[in-house]
């Protein structure tokens, strides 16, 4: 690309544009242009000579737009006759819709105090939304108990399959490994006292009371809770939830209730399975590393555990199931109407679920201690 500026005797600035113009070569510098236009005496008008112009694209347009802006500021006339027809058309098109000044967003940062205020208001609002959601879910549950909730039974069975049977492989892997780790950590200390047989107690009680429920819940929060949020969020984006509402079907009963039921039913079962897998994992470690015979390990585990220990874990698992389902569905229903909002919903579902799992675990542990379980 080449640009030359010539001053005609009648004080016209002729811009001679030639060569190939392509955005691949970058945009021309505008310093010379500004100098020419700003020079004294100011040019009366600007004309173009494009007889040597070969190919052109947006780079020429961008240059001309800048030239036009400069001339407008100095109120210099522009004669577009010398430009190729296509260029003139595109320039007119670009200028056809004037820039909407009020459309431009107000830049600049908001002051600190107003940001704090906004955050506080948002926190209050989201707490309100969460409480409303829990309330609605409870009402739906009561409807279910009275046999009036409307949802498709086949959905429920599909969901049960999704968050039950299909979760078995990952739950197996995680809980066997957690059992192994518990046994290993315990063994290192207990061996010092020659009390390695108590590894079986440690693993059994640890898995049954705490780790089985906790690990299963966290796996399910990442696996199923996020899926619920993404699923409901996408339905919100596609207006599927609106379609349910306008048909008079409560999305709470139709979508949220079966998901909650499925998780509340399946999480304790998965937890029981995880308990046993964890004990198996501990057993592998005990037999392999500590030379305890399988029978010994088994007997010690039976001695250490009773049904109460399992009940403690299973009740926790039930509570976690409600929490994971609630947070997944809540974040899904709150989802905005864009692809990135679905991603945010899934993320925040997992975060909410894990935080509430840990907090409720702490609360339950204190309660169990008080009632002597």
């Amino acid at each position: 690309m080449n640009i030359r500026f010539d001053r005609e005797p009648d004080n016209t600035l002729v811009v001679r544009i030639g060569g190939d113009w392509s955005i691949a070569d970058g945009l021309p510098s505008t310093d010379e242009l500004k100098r020419q236009i700003g020079s004294k005496p100011a040019p009366g008008r600007v004309a173009f000579d494009t007889s040597e112009l070969a190919c052109w694209d947006s780079s020429l347009l961008a240059f001309l737009v800048k030239l036009t802006d400069c001339c407008m500021q100095e109120s210099i006339l522009i004669a577009k006759q010398g430009l190729p027809e296509g260029v003139v058309k595109l320039l007119d098109l670009a200028a056809a819709v004037p820039e909407k000044k009020d459309a431009r967003k107000h830049g600049g940062s908001t002051p600190f105090l107003s940001r704090v205020g906004e955050a506080a208001l948002n926190a209050g609002q989201s707490t309100g939304e969460m409480l409303a959601f829990i309330g609605e879910a409870f009402v739906a549950l009561i409807k279910l108990i009275r046999g009036r909730a409307r949802f498709r039974r086949s959905d429920l069975f599909l969901l049960i399959q999704e968050c039950g049977a299909q979760a078995l492989p990952i739950v197996t892997l995680i809980s066997v490994l957690v059992g192994l780790i518990l046994a290993f950590v315990g063994a290192v200390e207990l061996r010092l006292f020659g009390a390695q047989i108590y590894v079986a107690d440690l693993v059994g009680i640890g898995m049954a009371r705490e780790m089985g429920a906790m690990m299963t819940a966290i796996v399910m929060a990442g696996r199923t809770g996020a899926a619920f949020a993404a699923q409901l969020g996408t339905m919100e984006v596609n207006e599927e939830i609106d379609a349910l509402k306008t048909l008079g079907i409560s999305p709470m009963e139709f979508l949220v209730l079966p998901r909650m039921l499925a998780l509340v039913l399946m999480l304790p079962l998965l937890c029981l399975y995880a308990d046993l897998m964890g004990i198996l994992g501990g057993g592998i470690m005990g037999v392999d590393l500590l030379d305890i015979s399988p029978t010994q390990y088994f007997n010690e585990t039976i001695l250490a555990l009773n049904l109460t220990q399992f009940a403690v874990g299973l009740i926790k698992a039930g509570v976690f199931g409600v929490l994971v389902a609630l947070s997944g569905c809540l974040r899904g229903m709150q989802c905005g109407r864009s692809a990135s909002a679905v991603g945010e919903a899934a993320t925040s579902a997992v975060v909410t679920a894990i935080v509430s799992i840990i907090v409720s675990d702490a609360i339950l542990t204190v309660i169990y201690d008080r009632i002597g379980m």
């Binding site: 955005i23 694209d57 947006s58 961008a62 670009a94 819709v97 000044k101 864009s338 909002a341």
Partner: protein, 256 residues
């Protein structure tokens, strides 16, 4: 980009194209030529495979058999870098805009420029403003796609499709979901772009008003026969075609 309207040379050529999903044949034996500077319309009833044909032409789906030639070079016989180079010549406007929702309009248009040119951020910003103002969206740089109306989203998507000054533009149902006036403005914009940029434009649509306003060549896909039943200027097809299906399509079923 010179005005090359005067020369009638083939830009895109489709030869014996067969499209399949699995073993289900959607359309077979499609053969037609799109000349440089044409506005070529792919028309037909819903579900006849119009969008699928577009996906085959832009390289999103590999044909079961047959060729798609660009300036004589077969798209699917090129190696990957060759295909990338060809695809760089395309600008595609997707049915629902397909703007990236986590980016502002300016970022949406700037992404192809940043990826494929060595322009500085300031230069990219200038070009982005230019493209948005060409689409009638000057001043909307900082908006997210979710904050603007459907028609504006379409135009923003058009600005993105034009970002790299493509010489072939593909439009998938450009006027779907637009009010008649916005749809007409978009048609005018398409004509304007063809005339000033000399671009070749392929449009998938079943909006009759649009077809007659912009097209100078077209292909009609028949869903039942699973092949094309006519090719040519839709104005001519309206008067000359003997196929009752095409006649009724082009007259909104009022001819029979």
């Amino acid at each position: 980009m010179e005005n090359q309207l005067s020369k009638k040379e083939a830009c895109i050529e489709v030869r014996d194209l067969t499209m399949e999903y699995g073993s289900f044949v959607i359309q077979r034996n499609l053969s037609f030529t799109v000349n440089r500077g044409d506005i070529f319309v792919i028309m037909g009833e819903s579900g006849c495979g119009k969008s699928t044909l577009l996906r085959h032409m832009v390289g999103l789906k590999e044909p079961a058999s047959g060729l798609v030639l660009y300036d004589g070079a077969s798209f699917w016989d090129c190696d990957l870098p060759g295909r990338r180079t060809l695809m760089r010549r395309f600008g595609i406007l997707y049915q629902s805009g397909a703007l990236w929702s986590s980016m502002t309009l300016a970022e949406n248009v700037a992404l192809p420029l940043g990826e494929y040119t060595s322009l500085s951020p300031v230069e990219i910003k200038e070009l982005v403003s230019l493209k948005l103002s060409l689409a009638g969206l000057a001043g909307f740089e900082e908006f997210y796609p979710s904050e603007i109306s459907g028609g504006m989203r379409k135009r923003a998507a058009l600005a993105r499709a034009m970002a790299l000054d493509p010489d072939i533009l593909f439009f998938d149902e450009p006027s779907a979901g637009l009010d008649p006036i916005s749809a007409r403005r978009l048609d005018e914009l398409i004509l304007e772009l063809r005339d000033s940029l000399g671009a070749t434009i392929v449009v998938v649509t079943h909006e009759l008003a649009s077809i007659f306003a912009i097209a100078n060549n077209s292909v009609f896909l028949d869903a039942d026969a699973r092949t094309m039943t006519a090719v040519g200027d839709p104005h001519r097809l309206l008067h000359e075609s003997n196929d009752p299906k095409i006649r009724s399509f082009l007259t909104r079923g009022e001819s029979n």
